[in-house]
Symmetry: C2
Subunit: 437 residues, 2 copies
């Protein structure tokens, strides 16, 4: 008999079926044995009365792989309203070792327990609640791609093994590449700008590497980034609009398609408008000071406190918990970003903030060859560095006004669900202290 | 006026429109200047009569970014049947440097010219013919994901920074990870098997790294792999069927959706049946010898010649140019694969061959904890190596029969289009001699 999945059993009431899965839980109750069997669709309860069948499970632990033939019975008290009665069990893979972690109830995600959580990841992920994080994650990446496909963005794969750390700044991982030095790409920044000259609109979802020395709730060494870049923009508003529409699409669809998963995590209710409010950094500083009484030096970037505060403020005042902070101070300027021609103390960039954190920085790039070279020099970098030659070539041969963003997938998942540490949103996270599992 | 894309101009015949793009080609003809403007949808021909407008283009080269306002006119002799007349030009970004590579006609893909092709990749990709490779590539990855989503496979991201080279064998890239040694993952093999215990069915499209010392048409150091893994399989036929159905879906849809792109590359006609023929390695050796007169030692793996030959044979005889070669000889056995219990000289693995090359190896894994440990020892590897501990834990706590494959995306693109070198299918290829652009 073909295997029936737990989600389809209600179509087979009264019939004999075959199900297969893992022993997820076992309890004894008045001479009966109740087991929960887990398959990829969820759990099904099996009631075993026959002593011979009960005996087969003696000494077997969670994780034991079972083949079960039995009758589907409607039972409102059972999870899913279905039970299997009179089962005949075949032990496909016996498990004798006790589970290193209890997977039948939600796992402990308290900060002090996260190391235990990740040490036991291989088994802990079998917890249904834990799985939901990664079903939502798969859903969000699918929805982001759907939106981008529908808006003429071409998906690409750019190299992660690169020559030199052309972006400069942050720490990079270096490796020996047949006698040359290679680095692991911190982002596809230069490649995606080059590709604007090819497809106008490109995107990539891929790992990016930061040799971060910090051990915080926000730092990992391997992140998954969605990078998008679009040409022929009339101004930063075009970029912000695209990022806004994409975020609105992915989040609202995610809340529809993963309602149960989000609910089981007590994810916050989604408070979103189609148009995300936009405040300049200067406005946010002013509003923050007026509302909290705390003074912030007005030329600087937002503090983490302000990022949290403005999201709360926009949620209450504008009915939207995603907000753009615009007109970044010059201190945050990177060589490839365009300085605001109307106010040369600011950069044409906007941060997408959501639930208190930055999800993406969305700058307009400097697309004028001569200005770009000058900006590289101004940062004390040599534009003749071989790591730049191909990048600069794209500008020498014509790139239109363009902009884009690097969008943190891990952070999006973390904040959508309401987790507190980026690592909780990553299957097998990597940080300064963790290279396994 | 909002910008109209070249593909939508036919909806605006007789009207004034704004178009933007790159100067792709310029010719003078009887006092008129004809230019082709390239945008993300293709080319549009612009006829310039006004001397003042013609003058604006003096000295400007391919790549110059233009904003053009003009009238849409039907003209059957123009590409796309549309022309722009009486244009008013604005030079958005002037390009004075001559293009390092002629992008108006198909680029030279002859083996001796490939280095030039890749050295000039940044500009060469602006060639419309060249772009098609990467549009087809984006399409194939989208179609593969579509199929896998529809068959309950959960997309995941596993780490590429790993401790040790647990798979052993091939060369790996090593790097310093905060004083520890890390390697770049050669494949997500161990992680995807672990994840069978979580979701039953998982997949990942991600880079994989091989420190390949060989410089051939088949070797690159950074490949894009589709890895899939599925649990509760009844036998290798389940895995082969899934890989077959996925390949059939992606290729037939690709040939529908990218008919023009494939035609412009003279891609071979697709000769595929829903059920791919399956031959054992022994059968192929025998058939090859019978048909070609050349003898092959019958216990060994297929030679490259045989791989080519069997695809041709299956195409003619079975009407299908995708074929599975099954029952691999024990020499090819990896520790995590299952030895055929019915013939312990063979491994439960099947290669998917397409147009003469192997696209994927699809083995059944050894899922019995004790047997797996023995197989690791038999390969001279220490099962207590820390790189294995988490992998083995998944088996200790129950993994069902499972199998899957690593499917080379670069090769699939190469062979679908009919290219001759894997690097032609990669935006910015990496090999022993190439780390740029």
């Amino acid at each position: 008999m073909d295997r029936i999945l737990s989600s389809s059993l209600s179509e087979h009431i009264g019939k004999d079926v075959t199900i297969e899965g893992w022993l997820h839980k076992k309890r004894l109750l008045g001479g009966l044995t109740f087991i929960n069997l887990r398959d990829r669709k969820g759990l099904v309860q099996i009631v075993i009365q026959d002593k011979k069948e009960i005996e087969k499970l003696r000494g077997l632990q969670t994780g034991t792989v079972l083949h079960v033939e039995g009758q589907v019975v409607k039972e409102s008290r059972a999870p899913g309203g279905i039970e299997i009665h009179d089962p005949s069990l075949t032990i496909m893979v016996p498990v004798l070792a006790e589970s290193p972690i209890e997977i039948d109830k939600p796992l402990n995600h308290k900060p002090e327990n996260l190391d235990t959580l990740f040490d036991n990841r291989v088994i802990g992920l079998r917890n249904l609640q834990e799985q939901k994080i990664f079903r939502i994650r798969a859903g969000l990446t699918r929805l982001l791609r759907e939106f981008l496909d529908a808006h003429d963005f071409v998906e690409m794969q750019t190299p992660k093994l690169v020559a030199g750390a052309a972006e400069g700044g942050a720490e990079v991982f270096k490796l020996d590449y047949f006698g040359k030095e290679a680095t692991l790409a911190q982002s596809p920044q230069l490649y995606k700008q080059i590709m604007v000259g090819v497809f106008e609109r490109v995107f990539e979802i891929a790992p990016a590497y930061r040799a971060e020395l910090s051990a915080t709730t926000r730092h990992v060494t391997e992140v998954t980034m969605l990078d998008i870049e679009m040409g022929f923009v009339k101004g930063i508003e075009d970029v912000l609009d695209m990022v806004q529409d994409m975020t609105y699409y992915a989040l609202t669809k995610c809340y529809e398609q993963y309602a149960d998963e989000l609910k089981s995590w007590n994810a916050p209710k989604l408070v979103l408008k189609k148009k995300f409010p936009r405040y300049t950094i200067a406005q946010i500083h002013k509003l923050y000071t007026e509302n909290t009484g705390q003074t912030i030096t007005t030329t600087k970037d937002l503090t983490p406190d302000e990022e949290k505060w403005i999201c709360e403020y926009a949620k209450e005042r504008d009915g939207c918990e995603a907000v753009f902070a615009t007109e970044f101070p010059l201190e945050a300027h990177k060589f490839y970003q365009m300085i605001n021609p109307d106010n040369r103390q600011t950069v044409l960039a906007g941060d997408l903030l959501f639930r208190g954190v930055e999800l993406a920085t969305c700058p307009i790039r400097e697309h004028h060859y001569d200005v770009l070279i000058q900006q590289i020099k101004d940062k004390g970098i040599d534009p003749n560095d071989p790591g730049f030659s191909h990048f600069l070539l794209a500008f020498k041969h014509g790139l239109p006004p363009h902009g884009g963003c690097g969008y943190g997938i891990d952070r999006l998942v973390e904040k959508t669900i309401g987790l507190n540490n980026i690592k909780e949103a990553i299957l097998f996270p990597r940080d300064i202290n963790r290279l396994t599992p």
